[in-house]
């Protein structure tokens, strides 16, 4: 069996990026859009850690920890805004939130 190399991780990461992008562009539920954004950030993490491993460095892993922290902060703020929105509008569908024209 072929050993797992850096290129495998990069392909996985590119696939995650693609899935996340398609998710953001096609799904209408805001929670699922937020989850798709998390997928994109996880693609970034896999990239960073794969490079970090290949280069025998720790920098990439440190960067990944910062990206994880940022993803959490973004999700917290996002869900907070979502709750405020839901209290006023009672909907989670992105295409029903249309007071301001896109």
């Amino acid at each position: 069996m072929q050993p797992v190399s850096t290129i495998h991780y990069l392909v996985l990461s590119a696939a995650l990026l693609l899935i996340g992008t398609v998710g953001v562009l096609t799904r209408r539920n805001i929670v699922i859009i937020l989850m798709s954004i998390e997928l994109i950030l996880n693609a970034v993490n896999i990239n960073l850690i794969a490079f970090s491993h290949a280069l025998h460095q720790v920098t990439g892993q440190v960067f990944a920890i910062f990206v994880i922290t940022d993803a959490v902060a973004e999700a917290a703020v996002g869900l907070g805004i979502l709750i405020a929105l839901f209290r006023n509008r009672e909907t989670l569908q992105a295409d029903e939130i249309d007071l301001l024209k896109w």
């Binding site: 970034v44 990439g60 703020v77 007071l99």
Partner: protein, 494 residues
Amino acid sequence: MSTFYTATDHFSILPAIMLALFGCSILLFDAFDAFFFGGARQRRWQLLFVVMAEIGAGVGLVKQTLYLAAGGPNGLPLDGFHGTILVNHFSIFFNWIFLVAALIVAVVSYQYLETAGEHHGEYYGLILFAQCGMYFLATGTDLITLFIGLELMALSFYVMVGFLRTEQRSNEAAMKYLLLGAFSTGFLAYGFSVLYGIAGSTKLSEIAAAVAERSPWDPVVILALVTASVGLLFKISAVPFHMWAPDAYEGAPTTVTAYLSVGSTAASMAFLLRMFMGPLVSARAAWEPLLAVVAVMTLTLGNLAAINQTNIKRLLAYSSISHAGYMLLGLVAGNDTGINGILVYLLVYTFMNLGAFIVIIALRRQNIIGEDLDDFAGLMHRSPGYAVLMLVFLLSLAGIPPTAGFLGKYYIFLALVQTGHYGLAVIGVLYAAVAIYYYFKIVRSMFMRDEEQAAPLATSTGVRLAVTVAGALTLGIGIYPEPFIRFAGAALVR
């Protein structure tokens, strides 16, 4: 002081420490304020904290300037944290812009938030945290520092845009801004991860060396360039990543709109310049045509979409998009005049755009939103002072001499002609003519129409002071530009 945190490190982030410290203090004291006094809250001391933070940051910036001046004619580099922070005239120039923007916005916010009934201490804390993020965007020379700075600024802005909790438009604007912002940040981070893979380092200088070894058309370089550009262009609201700007501008509290349009744009422009003139400079052959196309699309959409707007905040949002297009043209030209043009443009843009938004803030009353074209009807008869100042800001936004806006456009066009981009210069001038049309729709409403309400505007001293300062600088830079141009020119020494 250990080797992990030396005196130089401390000095290189002194203004940011001041901002973060006072920002945290505001949050802490706000909690105790509620604990001790219950309902009766005093907000004035929070404003005082912001002023003290800005004084602290300003003193830090002056100290850094003096340090650089003593280091020699070009200034010794003042770098901290093993080369992840670099303080130079470029960063100091931008930090003065952020400082002025944050201070003016904090001063005019007081009355606006009282009227809106959402006056909370966190607001002032968020202004300072956002400015802290901007500081790291202007000084950072490492991908991690820049990424964290960008997110600190962006997260603060997401919350501030949605600050009117009970108003649906504000919720909606914040949600759209967050979804699109987080999406673009994901792409930016992906681009960063590829850059890290190329160079094996997160330092901009080492990435620049690694990218220079490769061809500009190397697919990996193109991948990093395109994904990073998505994030960078989103932040300055360039087409096709502009969709958030009109919605966020319209839905946000007007004070936040002012801060967003000035502070966020300036910081993102500093970030963009750092990236394109730093690590990506050797891939110029690949990004110059890309940016030229983006700039022309930005100018086209920004100016044409603004024509039909009746909401002034939305109109100014589209005009901000077109201003971003002009600044991008300076980067396409790419010579010293062009980069200097961007800096001058940003400086004058700060004052004229802030001023225009402050006039909208002054129109906000109980029950009157004051952001529709009709609300400006007959402003000349109601409050001649505000009407004349608004005229100055609009003339400047349109780029008509002797106001400051002319100066910004002049340098951009000069740079385009110097580098032989005649076609782009012609397009830019034509769209400047289109812009005059929609700016003068507001002027016509103010001067030619009869007023719908007779009462003059009742505004606080802070608002009057802020609008006067913005007006004086908009005219002042236009009439006597010499010191300001020299200030921006010194920032070029990188």
